[in-house]
Every structure is written in structure tokens, then in C-alpha cells.
């Protein structure tokens, strides 16, 4: 929250002039009849996407030259808000003159860009970005119908966020590479979840197959499991350095050195020691210990003996180990 958020603006104020113009007077609104397609010597393609009960529905008509696959004419009908109508209008326009196989490359992002008045100002407020997604979907549907293939075949990847077109693999990769721990970070890095917000968690504007919260939780689990597997593998090969060890591995390793190099001397004097805790206090590893038996009252426990234990551990394990008697 800040000054600019205190008085909520009208979403209409954020529409570009292009959106307004195309809402007031859509240029490509209309239909292509079979007779009209015939007269162009073209095949009529009709595709529907959405439903009135979802709040958005669009029908796309194409007249396609079957020899060249060129879209000769393109019209739409749309049930939806102003941005849905404007998006459909620009979508129909972008199809004209393209080959079907090129038209499927038009994404919702292209549609939104085409609606901008200037290249740097979004054409619609974030929550309305969603409306352009349907324009993209209906193109894929029309192309699939014409080419007689499944519309999913045009999408090489699973799209988690359709508004910003961010794929599942991208999100997983970004989480892993940058060690992300919150959904807000994912949105900062990828823009996924920044628009209609449906993909963030269940219960949003529309149901999704994948949600950012679940992807994050699962990827975090994978990251942690991978760290442990790596540690175990290196340990088995005896290549594991102290700093890469898990806490349990660190403890075991220190105990091993203490048993061989420290405790026999203490026991000879009628004493012993135990480890209370290990804390990572980067760059140091603080080892909290308690003396037992005769050692617990020994004056040297905070001087000579202590330095002795510390220097053994530093030499044999890691120079950043510090020993702190309590």
C-alpha cells in the first residue's frame, strides 16, 4: 500500500485508447457464412471457446485458402467485457493474411501488445490480461480444427500462468536456480501470477490444473531431497567436505574425531566430554560442549585443554570450528 493505492482507480481508466476504440466500434466483428467462404473459394473454419456461464465466450470464423493455408478473412463474435471484445477484435485482425501454421504462433501477449497505445504502457489493467488469453485459445482451436489435430499439440509446454505465458518447467527452474522460497518471489522473477491471479492458489477467478503454491512446495521438497542425496553420494565416495555435510553427518564426523583423538586423553585423567549442540554461525561452526567427570572442575578446561580440542578439530575437520564449553 502506498499513496497511489489508497484511492482505487476505475479499471476503465487503465484501458488504452485502442481498447476503447475497438470496444466502441470493433472492426472485425461479424460472421462468415458458408456462401461467403465458397465465393472466396475458401474453406470455412469455425471455432468456439469459453461459455457464457464462464463470463467469456468467443466464436472465430476463418475463410482459409486450402492450397496455400492462407487466412483470407477472419471475423469474430464475442460475449464478454470490453477488453474481451477489444482483444477478440485485434486477434481476428492479426490472423488476416497469415498462413494457419503462422497464426497459431499469435499469443495473448501479441494481442495485448497490439492493443497498446505506446509500447511501454500496458493496454489493460493486470486483472484484465486474462481476457486476451481466450483470444489466443480460440486461434489454436480454429487451427486444430482446420489441420485436424489436437489443439494441445500447439502448446509444447504446460502453461501454469496463461496471462503471462509462463510454463511449468520455467517456474521450476527459476525456483531451483534462485533458491526461491515464496510465491511473491516467483511472481517477481517470472510475472506468473501477476495478472488474474488464478494460478496462485485454488479458489481464484478460474480453476487451474497447476497452482504456484503447490509447485513451490513440491520444488522446495525436491531441492531439499536433492541436497541430501548429494551429501549421501559424496559421503559414500568419501569426497564430502565438512561444509557440504548435513547436520547429522557433521555430528557423526566430529564424534568420530573426538573418539579417536580427544576422549582417550580426557578419560586418562578421569574425565570426558559431550557435545550439546552445533550451530552454524557462518563462517564458523560453533560446537557447544560440556565437560564430564574430573574435567568439569579442571581449570585447564577453559584454556589449554580447550585449545587442544579446538586445534585438533580445526586440523582434522575444518578450520572454522570453534569450541565453546558451557
Amino acid at each position: 500500500m502506498a499513496k497511489n493505492n489508497l484511492i482505487s482507480g476505475s479499471i476503465w481508466d487503465e484501458y488504452s485508447n485502442q481498447v476503447v476504440r475497438r470496444m466502441d466500434d470493433p472492426l472485425h466483428q461479424g460472421e462468415i457464412t458458408e456462401e461467403q467462404a465458397d465465393s472466396l473459394g475458401a474453406k470455412l473454419v469455425v471455432a468456439d471457446f469459453g461459455a457464457e456461464s464462464c463470463g467469456d465466450a468467443v466464436r472465430l470464423y476463418w475463410a482459409v485458402n486450402e492450397d496455400t493455408n492462407e487466412i483470407l478473412s477472419s471475423k469474430f463474435k464475442s460475449f464478454g467485457c470490453g477488453t474481451a471484445i477489444a482483444s477478440s477484435d485485434v486477434m481476428a485482425e492479426l490472423c488476416i493474411g497469415k498462413k494457419v501454421e503462422d497464426a497459431v504462433k499469435i499469443t495473448n501477449i501479441d494481442v495485448e501488445l497490439a492493443l497498446r497505445d505506446d509500447p511501454d504502457t500496458p493496454a489493460v489493467p493486470p486483472q484484465k490480461m486474462h481476457c486476451s488469453v481466450m483470444a489466443y485459445d480460440v486461434i489454436k482451436k480454429a487451427a486444430a480444427s482446420y489441420m485436424n489435430v489436437d489443439m494441445e499439440s500447439f502448446e509444447a509446454e504446460i502453461m501454469v500462468c496463461e496471462c503471462a505465458r509462463v510454463s511449468l518447467s520455467t517456474i521450476q527452474e527459476v525456483i531451483k536456480i534462485n533458491d526461491l522460497t515464496t510465491v511473491a518471489q516467483i511472481t517477481d522473477y517470472t510475472k506468473a501470477g501477476a495478472f488474474c491471479k488464478s494460478c496462485i492458489k485454488p479458489g481464484g477467478h478460474e480453476d487451474r490444473e497447476y497452482y504456484l503454491v503447490d509447485i513451490l512446495a513440491q520444488t522446495r521438497t525436491e531441492i531439499e531431497e536433492q541436497k541430501m542425496r548429494d551429501a549421501a553420494d559424496l559421503s559414500a565416495k568419501d569426497e564430502l567436505t565438512f561444509d557440504k555435510m548435513t547436520m547429522i553427518q557433521k555430528l557423526k564426523h566430529i564424534e568420530g574425531v573426538l573418539d579417536v583423538d580427544v576422549r582417550p586423553m580426557l578419560i586418562m585423567d578421569g574425565g570426558n566430554m559431550e557435545i550439546i549442540d552445533i550451530k552454524e554461525n557462518m563462517p564458523h561452526y560453533d560446537l557447544y560442549i560440556r565437560y564430564l567427570g574430573a574435567c568439569s572442575g579442571c581449570a585447564s578446561g577453559s584454556t589449554g585443554t580447550l585449545y587442544g580440542i579446538e586445534s585438533i578439530l580445526q586440523q582434522k575437520i575444518d578450520e572454522n570450528i570453534r569450541v565453546l564449553p558451557i
Binding site: 476503465w12 460472421e31 457464412t33 456461464s53 464462464c54 463470463g55 463474435k77 460475449f79
Partner: protein, 416 residues
Amino acid sequence: MLIIISKSDNYYRLGIENMEVYLDNNATTMVDPKVYDAMKPFFCDMYGNPNSLHKFGAGTHPKMVEALNYLYEGINAADEDDIIITANATESNNWVLKGVWIDLILNGNKNHIITTEVEHPTITATCKFLEDQGVSVTYLGVNDEGTIDASSVRNAIREDTALVSVMWANNETGKLFPIKEIGQICKDNNVLFHSDATQAIGKVIVDVQDTNMDFISFSAHKFHGPKGVGGLFIRAGIELTRLMHGGEQMGGRRAGTVDVASMIGMGLAMKLATTPEAIAYENDHVRRLRDKLEAAILELPETIVIGGKDNRTPNTTLISIRGVEGESMLWDLNQQSIGASTGSACASEDLEANPVMNAFGSDSELAHTGVRFSLSRFNTDEEIDFAIKTIVNAVNRLRTISSSYAYTPKHHASEL
């Protein structure tokens, strides 16, 4: 009579093409010019703090007393009852729910509140907050007509029920709730009863004694008073822990210097909205205009009144127009300077449909095609004629674009 005709006089001067028609009076209303006039002296002339002893402060008291008299008369409160001036119905609703929570739940042996699923967010969001604090809340569902049966309240009352809160009239549909029966049920069961009467004042008779009401909330700007002032009626003898601490204003029930001008404006607005003549005017003139507008829209094919026509405030109609999405409709109307409203999710900041539309089925077409027209005593026949013409044009244009009415070739199996 209370009719102001200066506004429509103005239209004749400007010519009908320049007409602006405000049909969103359930959102807020124009301040009645008489109310505005009554408020004016209290900004630059009589600006004293009403709590001060000197004449600058105490000089405000006669008009404040008069305002209180109008408020008490307007809802038929007894002199022993309290009507506390608040900032708005939002504050009043919050106060009742949180006050009852503190008094009867945190410091008592109750733990249950009953409300409906179609209340204004000031009730539902506060109830959700109380649920987070461990309070059990029952949200009564509405029937096909968008209202509830009083018996559903009786069935929901438990040993530990602290409060029943049911709106007097719904903001979207204008539907009236069976307040009198619910009041009797609450009295018989010794449960406190609150009603958010924000959409009822000035549209129907609101009588707190006839309905066994313990609390009602209202907001001045819904009945031609100023924004930023409202009220909470508290029946005599009911303790309600205060929300605002810090001063002894309002008999010690709400701290904060009273907004004198707004209080006086609200008082007069209440009087102007609730006299028998005013209610009769609402029921006659406003109802006639609403019915005229509604009938003209219903002449268009595939249009229905959501929740049906019975038992509504006289000024409201919520109409579903097939094939026309609500925000698009508002857009076209706004281009012709007509202000209306929609519950469609697409028109909201967060893409959430409003709870009333959800109650009728958020996945149904109704949720996206409902447009609300809410009139006031300031609307005129000329305005409604202009609105009808504009609405018909908008519906025809948007249906021309709409996929719902699109041409389907013989070989194409429609999936819409």
C-alpha cells in the same frame, strides 16, 4: 412535496442529447439540495466544537437536537433508545458484531452468530474475521427469490447464539427480508437481533418498535444525505462495548468529535426520506418509473428480473440480459452518460462476482449478465425515457457482437 425539478429543467435547457441519468442510487445518492443548504452554516459560521462551553460550541446544539429528533422519528425509536452517530453503516455493522463478540462471546457464554450469505461485505467480512477468532457463524442460504424464510432463522438458533444479523433489503436485488417475523423469533428465543437497514431507509417503512429490533445500521448517503456519516440504533438497556475510545461524546458510547454538519445533514435527509408523504412518493412515483423502465427492458427477448418482481424496494431492478455481459453493458450506458451497476465478476477489481450473484449460482449465465438499475426520487419520466432508448440500443449493439446470438453454419456443432 419534496420533488426537486431543477435538475430536469436543466436538461431541457441543454437539450435531451446532453442528458445524464443516474440510476445507481443503491451505490450512493445525490445530496438533496435542501440537505446541502441545511449543512452550509456549520462549516464557516457555526464551526464551534459541540463539546465546548462557549457559544461557538453550544450554539450548534439546537440543530443537533433537531437532527436527532428527525432520526428518532424516522425509524420510530423511543426516547430511551440510543441512535449513535457513526461514520457510516460499515462502522455501525462492525460495531454491532465486534461489540456483541466482546460482550457475549469473549466475556460471556455465547459463541454463535447467525447471518445470511447475501449480506453486504461489512457483515460477511466481519463475520469471517470473527470466525478466525473462534466464533461459530451460520450463513443462511437464500431461496430462488434471493431471500430467506424466517423459519430458517428459528431452525438455526442454538443455546449459544448471541446475535442474528439479517439485512432489511438487499442492495443488488432490492429484495425485502422477513424482518418482522425474524424479530419475533429472536424475541421469543431471547437472542439479540440486528438488521443492516442501509438499503431500506426511505424506500420502505423502517420501524424499530414494530419489528422488535435491537440494533439497526444505516448510512446517510444512501438516502440523499452526505457521505461519511451514518448511525447505529441501540435499543434501550443494551450494553455494547464501544469501538472508539477517547472521549465522552454520544453519551459516552462513541468517542470522537461529532461531524456537526454531517449529522445535521443526515437528520434532515432522514426526515425528507421517511415522512409518510416521502414513502408514498417512493412507492408511487419511483415505483412507477422503475416499473416503466423494467417493463421496457423486459420487452426485449430473453431478459428476466433476477429474484422475481415480488416483495422488493420500489427503486431497484436487477435484470439479466442474455448475451450481454454486465461490464460491456455498463460501458455502453456510460458512453451515453447513464450510470448503472453490475454484479458481474468482470467489472470488479478482484474478478470476484458479488455474493448475491454467487447465491444465484456463480457459474450460471445470470452471474455475468445482471445489470442493476436503482432509481431515486430525483429521477424523472424524461430521464427514464432516455434511459430506455439508450438501453435498447446498447442491448441491440452488444447482441450483434455477442457469440450468444452468432450465426452457426450447418456443419458446425456449437460449443458455446
